[in-house]
Symmetry: C2
Subunit: 150 residues, 2 copies
DNA sequence: TTATAATAGGATATTATCATCCTATTAGCA
DNA sequence: TGCTAATAGGATGATAATATCCTATTATAA
């Protein structure tokens, strides 16, 4: 479903979301814990730092940390620079023949399914993924419905 | 969503489903109409002929045709030899840590979405995709006649 | 039986993705 | 200042997906 790169990014950011905010985590740490090639993760995170979802600090005591609240970073934000799920042609058949005006028989059905996938990525946040693993967190009250901008 | 190969397979089989049954279609024809590399499509179709969804006939007058009724061939049947959507790990995060017993926070939500995708492929048949295009075929026959692209 | 038209399929080329290597840059601290 | 720890990033290598080339095999018909 996701490319290797996007999956790396997602897993790393979930880990970041579980850290205490404001405290940078080194790539080496993350890569080691997730069993991801360090140099590769480094570039992947660098890409995400350019989009603003994470921030980077160079030099001693540096590292990567979330650029904003985990509850404000959707999976779409994390994955889009690598896989772009959003602007993908809706029709399975490619070829562009299958538009709204000129739809194949599966168009409507597939579009509905496709939208659900999109909605999942747009509405799920890093906070949603991180909290379950956290030892003691009371309830799921923080699960705020984000407006689906389809 | 689908690999190039799987998409080629799907488009070619939809085309086959629109043909009169029992009459083989040459790879060259299909490739030309769909603008797919002929030799590549040839191997792709050959793969599908080994799973039985299509049949092949060598020699003069030969070609490929559906192995059974279009309404009896699901998109899963077509796509599975190349992309295998079915046995994919359910969890986005890979790593196998996220099982039913040991689920991440997104597990349930993602699984539901994932199942819908699976259901679409398992329940939609070639007949579903083919029938809609049939009426319009006459007006569009000349259209695809080798535009100078590439 | 021979010519021809088609798939079968091994070998190879091309391209994109994934990964590593090495050096540059930046920041903190003695 | 100079040492060290970290990201930045260009260059390169490895692997998998995509595509092409060429020959073998098979079926039909003259």
């Amino acid at each position: 479903m996701l490319s290797q790169t996007a999956e790396y990014a997602l897993r790393a950011l979930v880990l970041l979301a579980e850290r205490t905010p404001g405290q940078p985590a080194r790539v080496g740490e993350l890569a080691d814990e997730l069993d991801i090639p360090q140099n590769y993760l480094s570039k992947t995170l660098h890409t995400l730092s350019r989009t603003g979802v994470i921030a980077s600090a160079r030099g001693k005591g540096g590292g990567f940390m979330l650029g904003r609240a985990a509850s404000d970073i959707t999976l779409f934000d994390v994955v889009d620079p690598f896989d772009r799920l959003g602007d993908r042609p809706v029709c399975l058949m490619g070829q562009g023949e299958c538009s709204e005006a000129h739809a194949c028989a599966a168009h409507a059905t597939w579009k509905a399914v496709s939208r659900q996938v999109q909605a999942f990525f747009l509405q799920t946040t890093l906070a949603d993924l991180a909290k379950k693993r956290r030892p003691a967190l009371a309830s799921r009250t923080a699960r705020k419905r984000r407006t689906g901008k389809m």
